[in-house]
């Protein structure tokens, strides 16, 4: 393939994206997508952006982070504060830019010392970072302390949301498929070996972390203008874990998987809404069932490519997998072969 910007592959993706945009726009205009489904769709889009950006840190680079909601809150608060005096799209973009700069700076300061840690230690350090950001916001005047900022103007629309979903997934995919991304993947596979191959591991880890934080802050700004109210506890550890669930559920290392997981979880959450408190139990059960049958996540590490999208085999295999999942093939095979239940 010739390495130009507008090659056949990129053009096809662009056309697919634009077609998808106009399809949804048409459905909104005709009234098939009602205001309620639009709210759900925005939730899915927001968490797809967050999932993809965290996947760059966790799935691609292999650095476990529990502080993602903290960077989201930086973006949300920057946008909300600017929107207070400039309640229009210009204000939103200025807020986003400020939020992006702050979160780039904070993530860099945080990443340089903490990314020297590994595994559990890194998880705890990033958890601490998320909490520090939350507590700073809780005690600042401009963020209005514990009661947060309410009455944020509602500026979100499908074109705006689509633009940011498209751009953040595109940049994440480019990040993953670039030389930087390959360096990051090698760090995930074996840090010592990649260092021996001359890769500056700290540099690439910091880059991935900053990139993820930047995208998360954009998602935070969109969150603020979609949901009217932001409070410090909105961006606590629970939210970080929600994003982590999307990454693990979709498959660590698969950006497509994160987007698919956001869609699946968004739909589960809404289909079972009339069941009130039972919903959370079903939601948790669904997670457990998927994790038993597909411990590698929905898509594992594979990505959607043009080849797979236009190949019938993909859909055949997906259907077969779904049937196996519903009919509990794994247990049947395990039970038949040993009689002792499942083995791993």
């Amino acid at each position: 393939m010739k390495n130009t910007f507008l090659n056949k592959k990129n053009l096809t993706w662009l056309i697919l994206g634009v077609a998808f945009f106009f399809l949804i726009q048409l459905l909104i205009q005709v009234g098939v997508i009602t205001p309620y489904y639009r709210v759900t769709m925005y939730w899915i889009c927001l968490f797809a952006i967050l999932g993809v950006s965290l996947n760059v840190i966790i799935g691609v680079t292999g650095q476990f982070s529990l502080g993602h909601a903290g960077f989201m809150s930086i973006g949300a608060y920057s946008a909300a504060v600017v929107l207070r005096s400039m309640p229009n799209l210009t204000g939103l973009f200025i807020g986003m830019a400020i939020g992006a700069l702050i979160s780039l700076f904070v993530s860099m300061v945080v990443a340089i010392p903490t990314l020297r840690l590994k595994g559990d230690y890194l998880a705890i350090a990033t958890l601490g970072v998320g909490e520090i950001i939350r507590i700073v916001i809780l005690n600042m005047k401009i963020t209005n302390g514990a009661s947060g900022i309410s009455n944020i103007p509602y500026l979100i629309s499908w074109p705006l949301m689509f633009f940011f979903v498209f751009v953040s997934i595109m940049f994440s995919a480019n990040f993953k498929n670039s030389a930087i991304g390959r360096a990051c993947i090698s760090i995930k596979e074996d840090e010592i070996a990649s260092e021996a191959m001359g890769i500056n591991t700290t540099k690439y880890k910091v880059m991935a972390f900053m990139f993820g934080a930047l995208i998360a802050s954009l998602a935070g700004a969109l969150y603020a203008t979609t949901y009217y109210v932001i409070k410090p506890e909105t961006f606590g550890i629970n939210n970080s874990i929600n994003i982590l669930v999307i990454v693990v559920f979709g498959g660590m290392g698969s950006l497509t998987g994160s987007a698919v997981a956001a869609i699946v979880l968004g739909i589960i959450n809404n289909v079972f809404q009339p069941l009130a408190e039972w919903r959370m139990i079903i939601y948790a059960l669904a997670l457990i069932v998927i994790m038993i049958f597909r411990p590698q996540g929905l898509l594992g590490t594979s990505e959607a490519s043009l080849k797979t999208i236009f190949s019938l085999d993909t859909y055949k295999n997906a259907l077969k997998g779904l049937i196996d999942l519903v009919t509990l093939k794994k247990f049947r095979v395990a039970a038949a072969s040993t009689g002792k239940g499942k083995q791993r």
Binding site: T34, Y36, S147, Y227, V229, Q273
Partner: protein, 384 residues
């Protein structure tokens, strides 16, 4: 065994999806309920749901509203603002309810208020007491109301009670610096107490994670004599402070806001003997002689299996207030119901008589409860 379990789980998933799709009759009045059933505020949302179920059952047994049966649709906010926004959008646009009750706390109510305004469906929160729930300080949200009094009002009531009933002239204030509820109450109490001619000798603050308050209490004692102690916080910490203050030899009356009301207060204070001469303001007291209150307590205890709290009483009142508004409007059109709700006059509920002011806050009386040996001993009604 595992296989059966998973089969059951799958069957449950499929079945629950099916039941979600069953349609409802045309001849009912639909009311949306959007409260905290899970998450950290579920402790407030659950009693409200039980009270709403009771009120709806009573209304339906008595013939419904305008001859139609009432159907309540319950959604869970998960104590999450985004979820609350989404729920109210669904109630207003998909379920096409006449009115919405919820949410139980201020944060999730504020997240849903713009949606209720946008789709023009009246929404009443039973217990969102933050001043900014029904207005942004300059304009009122035309479709958002509440059934409880607001935090500033409570601060004023407690200060007046301390000055007149307790005859206090010197107050000490202690409160949490982590919640706006506590910070606002402490400031408003201090202002009103000084307006009444008293002096505030000391103000001390702590953070939500503290459990040992001896250092702060010693500071208060060293700051000079005081004859009333105001604790601005919820029962979780207020209970501990009461216990530690009594142990430290502070014998003056202790006053506090509605956050004191909790079955755990006595246990946290370390024994019933520590909880004497303690007063707090609340929305509703089980000690009332009113027959309607007695009937409510009996009915609620029978149906819910526990004694009602102020929250359940407020939610119960909210349903009946809505009933009156629909009857006044003689229509199930949300906009007409909203007009009737705004104009509601002297609605007699079990938490007092309700009229709305121009900010959609109820003008209603508060109740000051005295605790003797940890038990509610007397209830004084304080009118605004």
């Amino acid at each position: 065994m595992k296989r059966i379990l998973v089969l059951v789980a799958t069957a449950l998933l499929v079945l629950s999806g099916l039941t979600a799709c069953t349609s409802t009759d045309k001849g009912t009045i639909k009311i949306g309920v959007n409260v905290e059933l899970t998450g950290e505020a579920a402790v407030y949302g659950q009693p409200e749901k039980k009270a709403i179920e009771l009120a709806v059952k009573e209304i339906n047994d008595a013939g419904g509203i305008l001859g139609k049966q009432v159907e309540a649709i319950y959604y869970d906010t998960k104590t999450d603002g985004a979820e609350s926004t989404s729920n109210v959008t669904k109630l207003a646009t998909e379920d096409k309810v006449v009115a919405i009750i919820g949410a139980a706390i201020s944060g999730t109510t504020m997240a849903a208020a713009p949606v209720a305004n946008q789709y023009q469906v009246p929404m009443i929160t039973p217990s969102g007491s933050n001043a900014k729930v029904t207005n942004d300080g300059t304009t009122v949200y035309p479709f958002v109301y509440r059934a409880c009094f607001i935090d500033p009002f409570q601060g004023v009531v407690i200060a007046n009670f301390s000055s007149t009933e307790l005859g206090a002239t010197k107050a000490a204030v202690i409160g949490s610096s982590s919640s706006d509820y506590a910070k606002d109450l402490a400031t408003i109490f201090a202002d009103q107490f000084e307006k009444n001619g008293g002096t505030v000798v000391a103000e001390e603050y702590y953070t939500d994670t503290d459990t040992d308050f001896n250092a702060i209490l010693t500071k208060l004692q060293n700051a000079g004599e005081f004859d009333v102690l105001f604790i601005a916080d919820y029962a979780v910490r207020a209970g501990l402070i009461i216990g530690q203050a009594r142990t430290a030899g502070i014998t003056v009356p202790i006053v506090g806001p509605d956050g004191f009301e909790s079955p755990d207060l006595v246990a946290l204070a370390g024994g019933a003997d520590k909880v004497n001469d303690v007063y707090f303001s609340t929305h509703f007291s089980a000690l009332s002689e009113d027959q309607a209150v007695k009937d409510f307590i009996a009915a609620y205890t029978a149906s819910a299996g526990e004694a009602p709290s102020a929250l359940s009483a407020l939610a119960y009142d909210t349903v009946y207030m809505l009933k009156q508004a629909i009857e006044d409007a003689d229509s199930t059109d949300p906009v007409k119901v909203n007009t009737a709700l705004e104009a509601i006059k002297d609605f007699k509920g079990i938490t007092g008589t309700i009229n709305f002011d121009e900010w959609h806050n109820p003008i209603k009386s508060a109740i000051i409860v005295e605790l003797v040996n940890g038990e509610q001993a007397s209830a004084t009604v304080v009118n605004p």
